[in-house]
Amino acid sequence: MILLLITIVLGVVMLIAALIAVYNKDMKTAIIAAGLTSLFASVLYVLLAAPDVALTEASIGSGLTTLIFFYVYNKIRRNNAQE
């Protein structure tokens, strides 16, 4: 029963994070929100008895993707600043 509760909470939080990622004006918070959604997703995978997928999602989905996002975002900001 407790698992059910946790899934519901996770689901709601993920949806909110996704909406923030799409609607927020500031890019930084949007990227972080996207990273958060995939982080919560990896937690959800653990609940769904899929440890491999959780590990992958955590490391690649939230970790590296967010990292690359920030790299590119900063390069664009720096590029913008130079003009």
Binding site: L4, V22, A34, L44, T56, I60, G61, T65
Partner: protein
């Protein structure tokens, strides 16, 4: 068909995230926002895949304990979708990385991230 079971909720949540992702792609003018939409779209799909593979109150497909090794079909969750989703996540990463690099190069060209500005190829 129990409405309130883990896998059904996660399936629905997966679809909702997928739709939010598509909404992000189709409406946001900023290229980076579109790529974010894309990664959401991918995450949503991955959630759905894993949710489809879930078998109620079964354990993970790792046969570390002895008792799991006999007639395991009744004891573990479906490993195939998990294998597929593994590949899908890495593909998602590859595609997203490529799109971001494209976005960067586009920005180099016209110093703007608005997709509507890049309409030289038309008609």
């Amino acid at each position: 068909m129990q409405l309130f079971s883990i896998e059904y909720i996660s399936l629905v949540v997966g679809f909702l995230i997928l739709l939010i992702g598509i909404w992000g792609i189709l409406t946001r003018k900023n290229i980076l926002k579109m790529v974010i939409g894309f990664s959401l779209f991918d995450t949503g799909t991955h959630i759905i895949i894993v949710a489809l593979g879930y078998v109620r109150n079964k354990t993970a497909p790792i046969l570390d304990q002895a008792n799991l090794q006999t007639n395991t079909a009744q004891k573990i969750v479906d490993p195939v979708p998990q294998a597929l989703v593994l590949t899908a996540i890495v593909i998602g990463l590859g595609v997203t990385a490529l799109m971001l690099v494209y976005a960067m190069k586009l920005h180099n060209e016209k110093k703007t991230l608005n997709i509507e500005k890049y309409n030289d190829l038309k008609w």
